[in-house]
């Protein structure tokens, strides 16, 4: 069983980035990198591929789905699993995100004390034994 170790979190909101980083690192014990935009994320992915990419949906410029599409275009990181984190968590939209190729969707606001576990659950579901 593959263990989730490293996460790249992409979100234009500074505060939320900080919270997520804190939550995942301190509470979840995960290795966390953060980027403030889709393009920054793509640049980061050229250097290093994390176990899981968590994308905010609503970002200026290249939004979450757009970033995902770009990720999928690059052979080196095309397969990295992606989870969307979004405030627009109505069911139809969640279906759409899943249809786009995300392996999971987490709603904002999230509970920072359970975020890591949620991600692990999604990860384990994607990589079952």
């Amino acid at each position: 069983m593959k263990i989730l170790h490293s996460i790249l979190y992409v979100d234009d909101e500074d505060d939320i980035r900080e919270i997520v980083e804190l939550s995942l690192r301190l509470d979840g014990g995960l290795d966390v990198a953060v980027c403030d935009s889709g393009s920054a994320a793509l640049a980061y992915l050229e250097m290093r591929i994390p176990d899981l990419v968590v994308l905010d949906v609503m970002m200026p410029g290249l939004d979450g789905p757009g970033t995902l599409a770009r990720i999928r275009e690059r052979p080196e990181c095309a397969d990295v699993p992606v989870v969307f984190l979004t405030a627009k968590a109505q069911r139809e939209e969640m279906d759409r995100f899943l249809a786009l190729g995300a392996i999971g969707v987490i709603a904002k606001p999230f509970d920072p004390m359970t975020l890591a576990q949620q991600l692990r659950d999604i990860w384990n579901a994607f990589y079952p034994d």
């Binding site: 909101e13 919270i19 606001p109």
Partner: protein, 972 residues
């Protein structure tokens, strides 16, 4: 008048004859009188003659006697006195004979006697004379002579007596004759007088009658004349009658007034020409059209009309502003009657209605809503400017075309359907209600529109007015609202994420241990930020529910499992409050049809409420009850209970018993409201029991069990049979379960072949049909169903994604789809559609076809049957046959005398149809022959049977037919 003249004509000869007769009779009488007088004179003469003769005879005889006496005496005595006597009598005797001769000469009898007498007389006289000459001494000779003289005297005496008697006889005869003749004449004259009197009387009476008649006629004529003039003068119209010379024969005052005819031109027999001319001159403005014709030409026109017996009509405006209509009508007896009517009010009304029409069409033209008027078959009859703008077609392009061209599929076909269904069953679906559908512009663009259709009657013609509004803007507004909410929620959520997130981290100890005070404050802040999050979530949910946008995905799920999940999820909430959540031991294993997320939401809400209101160390107990057809979950807490005053509002929005209390407990006040809505959408129930005196509170929800069997039979009718034709097993299961939950028995077919198989074996009341099936196109099945009389009327609900529909549905109007449902199917819509379809089918309203060409009869029958049947009238056999090919009826009412043939032709056609055909009731003026009567259920005669009787008969047979065919499939 004419017949009387004939009478008078016949009179003349009669009168003449009468007079002539009288004259003749008079002459006759006179003649008779004359003759009689003459005769009388003759008789008189004869009488005198006879008397004279008699006298003469007597004289003669006495003379002879004297002579005899004288002679005798002389002879005997010789006294000369005797000789004197003899001599004295001798002349008389001698004269007597010739006088006698004269007197009786005309009588043959007398003549004979006379002939006899003469010689005797002569002899006697001679004798006597001779005797006188005798010597007195010759006594013998004297005796002999005396004797001889006596003898001769006797002989003479005899003859004379005979003659006298004869004369007497003649006398008497004459007298008798005279009397007879007189009498006869008298009678004749009397008779003739009488006759003459009679004839005279007759004549007089005829003449009298003639006079009386003439007087009466004169009276009548005067009376009629007075009447005529009275009528003419009282007429509202002006009247002038011209004779064959176009001269004035009759007119009324109104004519003079209306046309302002100069008085000097108005005279009996005056020519119409000058009057006409003055008319033209005065009204030259209004009579512009005929101005170019001369007076003579115009008069010729009149003459021509007279000759050809043609009417003419002419309207113009007079110089005084009045509008007049002149109508000239020639009469067969060579006159022209011209009437003038003041049509000013009419003209004004025309103008006004013209203005109104203009105003109305201006209103229509400028109306901002598109208004389309269609007729019963859906053809466009009116298309205003707004409609032109809305659809991009000019009115001319759409006129008379079917309105469905303005709608994309499936709306076009369903509109057709709705219209047809409304017309034939009166069921309002689109009519009188507002519907939202889509419109199709000329350029192919589809746009959302709102449609309101109302029925209107233009005399006998039924029309529908559709008001359409492009609701793209509204839709856009709605979209904007939803987007706004979505955006706002995101916007709100974003900072909230940070707030709640940081607080959560802090509270979770990630940043390390905190001083107590800080910890407390952080806890407060964190709790409330979480509450804000929940509030936003609930608000969004409410908005979705209220706008009907909350979608449910129903699946088969174990309620027990869900309950366990919910308990787990809420353990975290309960622990800090030292509340335990436990579950009852016996757990029914049944599944329910539910949207897991939403049901979880409800469970969570109930559990969290129970936990919140539980005392510390208390327990929340969840119990699952099996209640036969349903499962009930009870969530019990030992809390304070719900106060009485609050119980009514508990499921309302922002319902919180005590503001302070709930703020403490952290509720949003929306949870139960949302829970209620969700449970209702599940077709279940929610409720509570509470005891404020220590018994605690139990909230419960009840849901239908998932089952293959019909769970609850509806009280009224026998369960309907529904066939679900759907290849996706999950979808099919959901559809079936939904319908079973509504009390229907359901069969499922996963392919067309399976469906056909089932349809052939059973009679269903409704079919739900997926269009895309593994072994073919659902529409093919539908088509074959419609072609088969046994399934022709089976309501079919199509369940499909829209894309397919657009391809197929141009042809679906004849396929009569009862409903369209788009996947994913909302259970309520499905149940509603099925119920409405079955209701239409098994509804009390029977379908009756009335073949009849008399509209009144149709109207009466229709009204009489309106509570129990929908009557479709057709006027010809041809139309009936056509209709019967596509539609099924419960009964057919048939007139025999129809414009295109006899109703009997229809019987023949019906007999040839496969399967049992609807019962036929003949309702006709004629009495059908026994052979025909045997072919039908009943035959009623129009004049004899009452409408009530007809209604009862139709009801009976139609209902009977309906019942036998509803649950029996094809066997009869």
């Amino acid at each position: 008048m004419a017949s009387h003249q004939n009478g008078r004509m016949a009179m003349m000869p009669l009168v003449v004859a009468g007079i002539v007769t009288v004259l003749l009779l008079t002459l006759l009488s006179a003649g008779i009188l004359l003759r009689q007088t003459q005769q009388q004179e003759a008789y008189q003469r004869d009488v005198l003659q006879s008397l004279a003769a008699i006298t003469t005879l007597d004289d003669l005889f006495s003379a002879l006697q004297d002579m005899e006496a004288g002679s005798r005496g002389y002879l005997l005595t010789g006294d000369p006195d005797f000789r004197t006597q003899f001599d004295a009598a001798l002349p008389a005797a001698s004269e007597g004979l010739p006088r006698l001769r004269t007197l009786v000469g005309d009588n043959p009898t007398q003549r004979l006697a006379l002939a006899e007498l003469e010689p005797l007389l002569q002899g006697t006289i001679a004798q006597m004379r001779d005797s006188l000459a005798l010597d007195r001494s010759q006594h013998n000779a004297i005796l002999a002579s005396v004797a001889a003289a006596k003898q001769q005297m006797n002989q003479v005496r005899t003859v004379l007596r005979t003659m006298s008697m004869e004369e007497n006889r003649l006398l008497q005869l004459r007298q008798t004759q005279d009397r007879d003749t007189t009498r006869r004449s008298q009678r004749l004259i009397l008779g003739l007088s009488l006759l003459a009197s009679l004839v005279f009387a007759l004549l007089i009476s005829l003449l009298l009658r003639d006079i009386v008649l003439r007087r009466r006629l004169t009276e009548q004529f005067q009376h009629t004349s007075t009447l005529l003039h009275g009528v003419a003068d009282s007429m509202a119209q002006g009247l002038v009658v011209l004779d064959s010379q176009l001269c004035l024969a009759l007119w009324n005052k109104r004519w003079i007034k209306l046309l302002e005819v100069p008085a000097e031109l108005v005279r009996q027999g005056a020519s119409f020409g000058p009057v006409f001319a003055s008319q033209i001159e005065r009204d030259n403005e209004g009579l512009r059209d005929i101005h170019d014709q001369t007076l003579d030409q115009l008069m010729d026109v009149l003459r021509d009309n007279l000759r050809t017996q043609q009417n003419t009509r002419f309207t113009w405006q007079r110089s005084n502003g009045l509008w007049l209509e002149a109508q000239s009508q020639p009469t067969p007896d060579g006159r022209i009657v011209i009437t003038y009517t003041d049509v000013t009010p009419l003209k004004r009304a025309e103008q006004r209605s013209g203005e109104q029409a203009t105003r109305l069409s201006a209103v229509l033209a400028h109306a901002s809503d598109a208004i389309i008027v269609i007729n019963e078959s859906g053809s466009i009859e009116s298309f205003n400017r707004a409609a032109e703008e809305l659809f991009g077609y000019s009115a001319a392009e759409v006129m008379q075309r079917n309105v469905r061209m303005l709608m994309p599929e499936p709306y076009g076909s369903s509109h057709d359907q709705y219209l047809r269904r409304y017309i034939s069953t009166g069921e309002r679906h689109a009519i009188g209600a507002r519907r939202e559908l889509e419109g199709l512009r000329r350029d192919g663009q589809v746009f959302p529109l709102e449609l309101a259709v109302r029925e209107m009657w233009l005399g006998p013609k039924r029309m529908f007015i559709a008001t359409l509004r492009n609701i793209s803007e509204r839709r856009a507004m709605e979209r904007m609202k939803n987007e706004f909410i979505s955006t706002v929620s995101h916007e709100l959520r974003t900072p909230l994420t940070s707030i709640a997130g940081s607080l959560g981290l802090l509270a979770g100890g990630v940043a390390g241990p905190l001083p107590e005070k800080i910890e407390r404050l952080i806890a407060i802040a964190h709790k409330n930020s979480e509450r804000l999050v929940r509030l936003i979530n609930d608000l969004l949910d409410i908005e979705k529910i209220e706008s009907g946008k909350m979608d449910f995905r129903f699946v088969r799920v174990s309620l027990a499992a869900l309950v366990d999940q919910a308990i787990e999820a809420n353990r975290g909430l309960a622990e800090p409050l030292a509340v335990t959540i436990r579950r009852g031991a016996t757990v029914p294993d049944d599944d329910v049809l539910a949207d897991t997320d939403r049901l979880m939401q409800v469970l969570t809400n109930l559990i969290s409420n129970a936990v919140k209101f539980s005392p510390r160390q208390g327990a929340v107990t969840l119990l699952l009850e099996d209640r036969g057809a349903t499962l009930r979950l009870n969530v019990h807490d030992d809390g304070p209970g719900i106060p009485e005053t609050f119980r009514d509002q508990i499921f309302g929005k922002f319902a919180q018993a005590d503001a302070s209390d709930s703020r403490q407990k952290g509720g949003t006040g929306l949870g139960l409201n949302i829970a209620k809505r969700i449970i209702e959408r599940h077709g279940g129930h929610i409720g509570f029991e509470s005891d404020t005196s220590g018994g605690g509170t139990t909230f419960w929800i009840e849901l239908q069990k998932w089952s293959e069997q019909p769970l609850a039979a509806s009280a009224d009718a026998a369960p309907a049979q529904v066939l679900v034709c759907e290849d996706d097993a999950d979808v099919a299961a959901v559809l079936a379960q939904t319908l079973r939950g509504a009390g229907l028995t359901v069969d499922v077919a996963h392919s067309l072949r399976a469906a056909r198989d089932l349809l052939a074996r059973n009679g269903y009341e409704v079919l739900t049909l997926d269009l895309v099936l593994p072994d073919g196109d659902g529409l093919d099945l539908l088509r074959s169903l419609r072609d088969d009389p046994a399934t022709n009327a089976l309501p079919v609900i199509v369940v499909s994604g829209r894309i397919d529909a657009q391809h197929h549905l141009e042809t679906s109007s004849a396929l009569r789809v009862a409903g369209w449902l788009q996947k994913p199917v909302q259970p309520q819509e499905l149940t509603a559609a099925v119920h409405s379809a079955t209701r239409a089918q098994s509804a009390q309203l029977l379908q009756v076809l009335h073949v009849e060409d008399d509209i009144d009869v149709i109207g009466v029958v229709r009204m009489a049957l309106q509570d129990v049947a929908h009557v479709v009238p057709v006027k010809t056999v041809g139309a009936a046959k056509e209709l019967l090919r596509h539609q099924r009826f419960d009964a057919i009412v048939l007139d025999l005398a129809l414009p295109d043939g006899s109703g009997l032709d229809l019987l023949e056609a019906l007999r040839q149809q496969p399967g049992a055909s609807a019962p036929v009731v003949i309702f006709s003026a004629q009495e059908p022959s026994p052979a025909v009567a045997a072919q039908v259920r009943a035959a009623l005669i129009k004049s004899k049977a009452s409408i009530d009787e007809l209604v009862a008969v139709i009801k009976h047979h139609a209902q009977d037919y309906r019942d036998r065919n509803l649950h029996g499939g094809s066997e009869q």
